[in-house]
């Protein structure tokens, strides 16, 4: 997380191609946080509260992994997690969850609009969403809007 990332040191001149790889690495360091806050928001909406066990079932990792990730989320200011209690989203966490959920839905809808099956759209979107820039997201939205008009 606290890596240099954009280096202009003597060892690592930033050269054309490396920019995209840096971007991808940067996105990878935030995508787990994004998926967690989104899942937490979903759980709160669906069942009133987000518990570690339930999160671990959703995400498919052990409760230990969830606990340590939640620690990081707490340090980063996205959640509050009192011992033996549920996980609560901060305002910052809620904002992130909202924008991630919206982006997720747009990506799914876009893939679906290309004729991709619901199943595959959902599977692929979970990974793709984290690498979609604002410009690309806008293009997806635009495409969906066009389709909507044509279908009328």
């Amino acid at each position: 997380m606290s890596h240099n990332s954009e280096q202009e040191d003597h060892d690592l001149p930033v050269e054309g191609n490396s920019v995209s790889f840096s971007k991808t690495r940067r996105e990878h360091s935030t995508e787990i946080m994004e998926d967690y806050v989104e899942a937490i928001a979903d759980l709160i909406f669906e069942s009133g509260e987000a518990r570690v066990v339930e999160l671990s079932r959703r995400i498919g990792v052990t409760h230990v992994t969830v606990t340590r990730t939640i620690d990081r989320l707490e340090k980063a200011g996205y959640v509050i997690c009192p011992p033996y209690r549920a996980i609560f989203l901060t305002e910052k966490g809620n904002a992130l969850a909202r924008s991630c959920k919206e982006r997720h839905q747009i990506v799914v809808a876009f893939l679906h609009s290309l004729g991709i099956s619901e199943q595959t759209a959902n599977l692929d979107a979970e990974g793709i969403e984290h690498h979609v820039s604002t410009e690309t997201l806008q293009a997806f939205k635009h495409h969906l809007a066009l389709l909507h008009k044509v279908t009328l």
Copy 2:
């Protein structure tokens, strides 16, 4: 790499949503290899050989990181790397490089066809490519083919 991934243990019942997260995690464990073999193939094509320094410039990490990743690639049978010499692709490595390059180009072309700038298309594709299933890749190709026809 050697994690269970698809678990049917008592602790971790596979539940609907977790499948997509597992898929994403699986893809992350292979994407660095994919980007490396592709970059190695490019370097060999462009300058006759792939050296660690040049790779480290391309990818934007130190030569140490490259060296250790190359070790893993060698153990996995994608490259051969004699001490103080260049990096050579095995048949397996060459095959992977080819299919990654093709996929990469399709993703870039597809994004570009949505009106996304060349720059952004290149940036986003570097991350998106690894999360595109066969079905989605086919849909991208199909979309491009349609556009091609319309443009004629």
